[in-house]
Symmetry: C2
Subunit: 151 residues, 2 copies
Amino acid sequence: MMFRAMQLAAHAASRGEVPVAAVVYRGETILGEAANDREATSDPTGHAEVVALRRAAAVAGGWRLVDCSMAVTLEPCPMCAGALVNARISRLVYGARDPKAGAVDTLFDLCRDRRLNHRLKVFGGVMGPACGRLLTDFFAERRAQRAATRR
Amino acid sequence: MMFRAMQLAAHAASRGEVPVAAVVYRGETILGEAANDREATSDPTGHAEVVALRRAAAVAGGWRLVDCSMAVTLEPCPMCAGALVNARISRLVYGARDPKAGAVDTLFDLCRDRRLNHRLKVFGGVMGPACGRLLTDFFAERRAQRAATRR
């Protein structure tokens, strides 16, 4: 599923969106998938994880996504980690760590906090370097484009 | 604005939704408002705060809700506190504290964490007892109804 998420993320980059994407699945069945679409939709909550959860819940017919997993190319931020807990997702597989807002391992540990009413199994760093490269390439290209326009 | 949020929350209770509501405003203008609608929409991210932010951003025409405030009847959970940071909201006014998932004062302090790229001014406990009573009354009534059906 991480391959699928990476494909979606690469496609998002070509549309000018920060390349992060997520897939929600149960067994071998994809219930919902999305790339970050904050620029296109002007939605501050339009991170890949939130959009994918919303789509998966619409397909599943309820907001409790029990026995579902999510694969996402970047470590979720506080909003997205909280959304995974709220949706009762069972398993999270993420790619690159996020030093700026990572809320699963890096800055916070929101998905395994015993005070909250749900906890997830977490597998971090899966295809991490490749997922991270999508982001560094995107920002490098954007910087180069900006520098070129400034001349 | 808290009065407006309480009105919306009371209305949500009458529809069988957990009575929490939020209003996003700039100066005296309401940009977006919503009550919790997780049951009606089957959306795990359908908390009042997230829906109100989404509506406000659609009205404002962009995902950065700079100089905007939110009034909400309950202390935001991790997902919602993270969404407020992501949306660059300037000021949060909340009513009742949430001992189970409060992520602004009670369990976490996500809205004023210096490691994240945005921080909010927070005013907690505004009309807290009245906002809390909406919730305790709702759950008491639901328990009574369930007990009655069991007989």
